[in-house]
């Protein structure tokens, strides 16, 4: 049978964070690494439960209750600072108990707080491997994080250079600017139509952004279907669209297109069984009526005409009036409809 001194010697080597306790729970022997955590306060002679707060098992009033549960797993915290958490196991031996402790997840803080070295750990302890792994994984994560940041930056820059609105597949504002720049030659025949959805905000507010996105996609589909291949259709803002009609300045024809667009956009759309009711206000500026007008100016005039259509009660369209510098009122039959009811 091994004597207490021989056992303490063995434990010091194999289990440098052990405690040997007598039947009263007084510390009789302490492993060198555990004592290193409190270099100025010898643990020998102190009571185990005075030194440590037991967090598991809870509600153990007396040390003798622990002895009644041989092999019990322990979670303890130093009562004084730093309040390092330790995990361990208690084994009952004749005349008392042995408690084997280890850092568990508090290892990272502990090596820093107590300046531990690999010599403080048993050769079988995975502490060093764990520290290695944390550092290696952190370095690898950092490299991945930097890669992700660069990819994100590249994505943003690619999006900035893109010509397509990702939600609708239409042209975006940049693409529209390019289209209009190519129209800057004198005497070119084209028209700019500026379309702003009515009651779109209500759809977003009452049915959510997914419904709003769905509506924008349906609007895009209608715009593409109601225009020709050579016309440029763009989403230039949240619920704003611009159509540039190539070789088309004929008022009756533009009027028919505008009426047809409003009529089709007012047809109820269903999103997950709920109706989304919108309409559109439209401003139109044909190039031949303002021969010296630059494309950007024509776009501005279409915008002014749109503003007039909005003021006229929405769900209607206006041509820009070059003489009065205000949009000319052209009453559309659908303009009488008023706001569609919201579902």
């Amino acid at each position: 049978m091994m004597g207490p001194d021989a056992l303490a010697d063995l434990l010091a080597r194999l289990c440098p964070m052990h405690l040997m306790l007598d039947e009263e729970g007084v510390i009789r022997d302490v492993g060198p690494t555990l004592q290193k955590l409190r270099p100025d306060a010898p643990m020998q002679g102190r009571r185990f439960l005075d030194l440590f707060d037991l967090t598991r098992p809870r509600a153990v009033p007396r040390f003798s209750d622990l002895l009644a549960e041989p092999g019990v797993k322990l979670n303890v915290v130093f009562r004084d600072t730093p309040h390092t958490a330790l995990k361990g196991q208690l084994a009952v031996i004749p005349g008392g108990a042995v408690v084997a402790l280890s850092f568990g997840i508090s290892l990272l803080d502990a090596v820093r707080d107590y300046a531990l070295t690999s010599a403080d750990f048993a050769a079988t302890d995975l502490a060093i491997e764990l520290l290695y792994l944390v550092e290696a994984k952190s370095a690898a994560m950092e490299a991945s994080r930097q890669l992700n940041q660069r990819l994100q930056a590249a994505r943003i820059s690619a999006e900035e250079q893109a010509f397509t609105d990702t939600l609708t597949g239409l042209k975006n504002r940049r693409a529209m600017d390019h289209v209009l720049t190519r129209k800057s030659g004198v005497g070119l025949c084209y028209s700019v139509m500026h379309i702003d959805l009515d009651f779109f905000k209500q759809v977003n507010d009452t049915l959510g952004h997914a419904a709003g996105d769905y509506v924008l996609q349906q609007v895009a589909r209608v715009l593409v279907e109601e225009t020709r291949r050579e016309d440029a259709v763009a989403r230039v803002g949240g619920d704003e669209f611009v159509v540039v009609f190539d070789n088309l300045t004929d008022r009756p024809r533009l009027r028919r297109i505008a009426l047809r667009l409003i009529e089709r956009l007012e047809q109820p759309m269903q999103f997950r069984g709920r109706p989304c009711a919108i309409s559109a206000s439209i401003g139109i500026a044909p190039s031949v009526e303002q021969p010296d007008c630059a494309p950007a100016e024509l776009l501005r005039r279409a915008d002014l005409a749109l503003y007039t259509a909005k003021r006229a009660g929405r769900a209607t369209f206006r041509f820009f009036d070059p003489h009065s510098c205000a949009a000319e009122v052209e009453t559309a039959p659908t303009a009488r409809m008023g706001p569609p009811r919201l579902g």
Partner: protein, 206 residues
């Protein structure tokens, strides 16, 4: 000793290419690195550590680098190994190697686990198998597997710099290439020759 038509395995890990890039930039300057990437016909100037590249690119970079520096590939690779352990820009790697043990001998004995340790950190990073044989009287033989020709030269630099790090005095010999396996002979003259550099377990490299 090193043939240029050897292949470096399937798909070179960006960490290896990134190490070469970091070495050239921090040792010889960014301008020379730009020359090297142009001469190698890379078409880009920055390797990404977490991507994988065609082996041919690494070969081309090393060829261009040796031509740029007018030096043998073996020497350049040994310098790369020394750089990886001693330069502050790659301090994290030196720390990871120091986890190998308390003394230089512990470190040598931990080298067998190095490829597995590397894979534990970055699962698609495959380093050649390393095997250390103790031959008594402070003499060791390290075999570097055939998957990455020239890796033995890099290991020479790493072993030399780690000896300084631990404060050990060693003699190293690249004993040539046996069926693609590079052999390094390490003779430990004195374990505690100099003070070495401190290694604090708790001080994580930033």
């Amino acid at each position: 000793m090193l043939s240029n038509d050897d292949s470096w395995g399937i798909g070179m890990h960006g960490l290896v290419n990134g190490a070469i890039q970091s070495f050239v930039i921090n040792t010889y300057g960014r301008e020379r690195w730009t020359h090297v990437t142009e001469a190698a016909g890379l078409g880009f100037a920055e390797f990404e550590a977490m991507l994988t590249y065609d082996d041919a690119l690494t070969e081309a970079v090393l060829d261009a680098l040796c031509a740029e520096l007018c030096r043998e590939r073996g020497e350049v690779l040994e310098d790369l190994g020394t750089y990886l352990v001693s330069h502050p820009a790659v301090e994290a790697l030196r720390r990871l190697l120091r986890f190998g043990g308390e003394t230089y001998v512990d470190f040598l004995l931990s080298l067998d686990d190095l490829p597995d340790r590397a894979r534990l950190a970055v699962s698609d990073l495959h380093l050649p198998a390393l095997e250390l044989r103790e031959q008594g009287a402070g003499r060791y033989e390290l075999s570097c597997g055939p998957d990455l020709p020239g890796f033995g030269c890099v290991m020479m630099g790493i072993l030399r710099a780690m000896a300084d790090d631990y404060g050990a005095l060693v003699m190293l010999d690249h004993d040539g290439n046996r069926d693609g396996v590079e052999v390094i002979v390490i003779t430990l003259i004195e374990m505690a020759f100099a003070k070495g550099r401190a290694f604090d377990l708790g001080a994580r490299a930033g």
